[in-house]
Subunit: 336 residues, 2 copies
């Protein structure tokens, strides 16, 4: 074990797009685990779009970071010291930790990780918060029926890629929007999406939808917002459901974004639009984790992680989310 | 009975705001009732905002009118000739008829009217389609709970005025937006709204809401759209419900209206937004009519109709909806 611990701190609130000035790496002593706590050597840490919201100085669903706070997020790692009966040194766990080499977690806020079921980074993606978001967001909010057309924005991301596969398992026709040909190929050739649109190659998303979703849209799982979403809202079928999971296109907006009004489009189809946060399903996380692990084990749900090497590059990994650098779940390898 | 029948025809599709050129009054022979039909002397006819949608040359929930079609809508009147066992001459009925002195209706598509329960025009308002829209829209889509703050736009209209009163009967705090002091006084002094905002007297609807709905908005019943709606969406509480009943501010728009994006505002409160059409509740119309008639009889729900005199003025009555001329339900008195 090293003597020192590198940790990323929140150095400056961004105006618009965040940059390297928002982050500061400090070297400190390795922290000590108190009663019931674990000292964990971080192997992978998660960077997620919702963290942009924590950089704002305003109340939202995730507590805002104050300048000077250590950055926190999902981690997976190996227990170095355990002050809990639940774990022994050498066990692998996941939970909310710090962007650091070593992190102290309350054992009660962690879940065990079995490296034989899936590689460690999968526990930050398909078997972690993004997978559970896909599971509850699609099944509970989207309420897909066999034969429905399900459209997913950000379809090659950590959440969207799982949404589409669960929709296929429910007998739906699935269409994804993603930003590179590599991504759209992954969706259609590996994950079983019926069609995928590279949104960088057209700006007529309405025409693209007429092509790939000729029967209209029954379920829209939105991770993105912006003009793709504007087009989908003009194609909603009777009783369509829209799950608003994320709006990454707008997270860096400093003024209120404007666009075509959507409420007039909801009346004729009697569409339902609903915001979702996975935390609301905490009492059912076990159900989701079990089902997702089973699908991953059987190969019915495939997954992929984009790995940035080195804790020192964690800010770059985070910033890359906003330019769509990742395919599947973006993680940072800190050690292994 | 007169020999001739005046009927309004659709003469021209409007671009933007409709005007008198869209309507043409013709004199014709009084129509004859066929088997199962009734010849009805129209006493009151209904003009409703949704009819603006029928003037467009595009499919929507209400079948579009073709140029040259006779104008149709809700009427209440007296049976002059009955070819149905359900009615005798002299009975009063309501149903969809024509903007005319006399109209032929299929008896099976009508409902009997009891002038002792309420005056005839009430059967086009609180006891008709607008009342049922308020009933199902608020109770089924809005799902109000005791203690909720319910905000209603177009609150002094045919639907909104009933929505607010049903919300009060359900133990809610009710706030209405309306466009004149006479309207806001009616809401608070006669109908029991807790507060009402004259939206002509401020353009800071956010500040107005902070004043009259300091605990945020649990249910928003939207008849209007536009900047009032924009402000309400910034005040939605956890698990807020929005019933999108109408968007009259946008019915005359010829290009797609733009405004602040609302989807980013739905995530933190996990708000649900749903379009509604009363026709979806047709199998439950009996329940609503019975309950509304009971509330009207007991005085628990008050109602008001704005009456324009004379069939010849029906287009003016319709056009007045878009400048908010009406308090309560707008009707046209054809004969009585």
């Amino acid at each position: 074990m090293e003597d020192t611990n590198r940790s990323w701190y929140f150095a400056e609130r961004p105006a618009g797009e965040p940059d390297a000035d928002c982050f500061e790496l400090r070297e400190e002593a390795v922290p000590e685990a108190g009663a019931g706590e674990l000292l964990v050597r971080v192997e992978y840490l998660s960077v997620d779009p919702y963290m942009r919201g924590r950089m704002r100085d305003s109340e939202s669903y995730a507590e805002p970071w104050d300048v000077g706070d250590v950055l926190r997020g999902g981690i997976v790692g190996e227990v170095v010291e355990s002050n809990s009966e639940r774990y022994d040194a050498g066990d692998f766990v996941t939970g909310e930790g710090t962007w650091a080499d070593y992190s102290v977690l309350d054992a009660d806020d962690t879940a065990p990780v079995d490296p034989d079921v899936a590689d460690l980074p999968a526990y930050l993606g398909v078997l972690g918060m993004p997978g559970r978001t896909a599971y509850f967001g699609l099944l509970d909010v989207g309420d897909p029926k066999p034969g429905d057309t399900v459209v997913v924005s950000g379809a090659a991301g950590a959440v969207g890629s799982v949404v589409g596969q669960i929709a296929k398992l429910n007998g739906c026709r699935v269409v994804g929007f993603a930003g590179t040909d590599e991504k759209t190929r992954w969706l259609t050739e590996e994950l079983g999406f019926d069609a995928a649109v590279n949104y960088q190659e057209t700006d007529d998303y309405g025409a693209a939808l007429d092509d790939v979703a000729p029967d209209g849209v029954d379920v829209y799982f939105d991770n993105v917002g912006g003009p793709i979403t504007d087009a989908v809202f003009t194609k909603l079928n009777l009783d369509a459901r829209v799950a608003v999971c994320g709006q990454i296109a707008h997270y860096n907006d400093e003024s209120v974004p404007t666009g075509p009004r959507k409420l007039p489009l909801l009346i004729a189809p009697r569409a339902r639009v609903q915001g979702l946060l996975v935390g609301d399903y905490a009492t059912r996380f076990g159900e989701a984790s079990e089902q997702l692990a089973s699908w991953v084990a059987s190969g019915e749900v495939d997954h992929r992680e984009s790995v940035v090497e080195g804790l020192e590059n964690a800010p770059d990994a985070f910033l890359g989310l906003f330019s769509g650098d990742n395919i599947g779940k973006q993680v940072v390898r800190v050690a292994e």
